[in-house]
Symmetry: C2
Subunit: 320 residues, 2 copies
């Protein structure tokens, strides 16, 4: 995410960063090393940013927004480190994963620890409704992961299966960041709802563009080889779109094949692109962004509302 | 745990069991299968029992105690399934582990899911102080796991390291079961505190007897081969006691050795037993049980207080 988008919360985002550093410091050297590695591996801090921006829609109170922003980034980090255990990636954002460096055990416990720390932060906000939001999406996020596992290499799954999955993988946490930021400052229920829905639609679009970039990005900029979804048998929107439109049995066989060579991955990407599936996926992402912007019309016309609209525009144009 | 100890809560424990069954049913076949497997693998339901028993110390309200009891058993199950990922055991309580049957990925997500479900249940009780207790111990429990990993095969660790670990591994969750059961029925703060401390001391004794049983139990009754701590390099109290008392370099070398044969494990157990370390460990467990019983004197003299004392006696005598 380009930094200038976050101009109005830039100073507070720096405070989030400092707090995050505190939260990964523990008395256990390996735990601290693994969490710090994860923290410094970068990341767009999108979830903290949405917490802070949503907090602008009522009495912006940093003392409540800061722990919340930290908590949401910690949860995001927890899901990343557990994903690494599962997908056996060697790098993320161009640097070695926690799992590649410290192994499965440390990754498992580091994820558990980050999640528990996050829960502790939220519980200290003393608002059971906020804790319940977090608990509810955590359950659903796990279900998404398991559905994804069950559906790998399944070329017969539907568009609906895909939407179920990306909602849980990405949209729920972004929606919750917007929703909880607004709840933390006691924004109007209608604003809380609009921000949550904005986050949902934006999150859906964000994941679709992610899935597109896994086929179209520059490998250096992406920080990992392209085609990783194809390799892992994860059926993304461009793949499903291509399979639906094309009677090409070669593509179907290639997609369903386990243990593809990198040449086979590149060949599959080519076949998919030839069907126009990437462009059709972009149109669907665009539709979600339009819906996100439509939600903004239900919010008071403060400058932050414009920022949120610009962020939606940016999602479509991002290249990594 | 012998069933007659739980006479006064027997009917409600059956309700906990029925609720647990509901909570492992999901729309995802693999998740349901893995969680059900874990649920039906047995277990003493010690944590739900303590929740219900602690609830007797004020206005016993099953509608609040039931979800809490379920939540604590779900957390316990979550830690078991994550432990299985980590310690690579093939069986637990005599039946295959989730990991042995479904692999690491399912184990990871099943554990995450159970923990999130548990959190959701607790958050629905609408009491931030209770959620905070749970969050706090979850953080510490993870730290215990990581400390255990860092300390494997380390023959120079101290008695204090051991206590740090077993508190996090076992005592915290039992203490929290007692504490939260009392909090759920709005018991007097002094009763909440005494029950928490009872649970703490009892939990410490429980883990020490567990560690003793890993050397002395009948393998059939235990449901797994004895000596698994030695095999995994986990320094339990009998091992540390033996190392402290005995100048025997053979024992030290054997304990520190990775990849021991089963014969070497049996030989180490023999050497440890010869030092009297088992009996000394039993004395330490006994001391914790005395402290647990002492806490009971601070509680009103209702019949449940006697039950809790009998449970403490039972811990010492258990053979599996």
């Amino acid at each position: 995410m380009q930094f200038q988008l976050f101009h109005e919360i830039q100073a507070d985002l720096a405070k989030v960063e400092a707090e995050l550093q505190k939260y990964v410091d523990t008395s256990l050297p390996t735990l601290t090393a693994a969490s710090s590695h994860l923290l410094h591996a970068g990341g767009k801090r999108l979830r903290p940013a949405f917490v802070l921006l949503a907090g602008k829609f009522h009495n912006y109170a940093l003392e409540r927004l800061l722990p919340l922003a930290v908590a949401l980034e910690l949860i995001h980090m927890a899901t990343l480190v557990h994903d690494d255990v599962v997908d056996e990636s060697k790098t993320r954002r161009g640097i070695p994963t926690v799992r590649a460096r410290w192994g499965n055990r440390i990754s498992l416990h580091t994820g558990d620890h980050l999640f528990a720390r996050s829960l502790l932060l939220i519980s200290e906000l003393n608002d059971p409704a906020m804790t319940a939001v977090l608990a509810k999406i955590s359950v659903e996020m796990c279900e998404g992961e398991i559905q994804q596992m069950e559906a790998t290499y399944d070329v017969h799954q539907t568009f609906r299966d895909y939407l179920y999955r990306i909602k849980r993988k990405t949209a729920l946490l972004i929606a919750a960041s917007c929703q909880l930021g607004a709840m933390a400052v006691k924004a109007d229920p209608s604003a809380v709802r609009a921000l949550k829905m904005y986050g949902h639609h934006l999150g859906m679009a964000f994941q679709i563009t992610d899935d597109i970039l896994d086929m179209t990005a520059d490998e250096k900029e992406l920080g990992k080889p392209i085609g990783s979804d194809l390799r892992q048998g994860i059926m993304t929107l461009p793949i499903l779109e291509a399979l639906r439109e094309s009677p090409d049995l070669a593509l179907r066989t290639l997609v369903a094949k386990k243990e593809k060579s990198q040449d086979e991955v590149y060949r599959a990407i080519e076949l998919i692109k030839e069907t126009g599936a990437v462009e059709r996926s972009q149109i669907i992402a665009r539709r979600y962004l339009d819906k996100a912007k439509e939600e903004l019309t239900r919010l008071p016309a403060i400058p932050t509302r414009h920022t949120l609209a610009v962020i939606a525009e940016y999602i479509e144009k991002r290249t990594y």
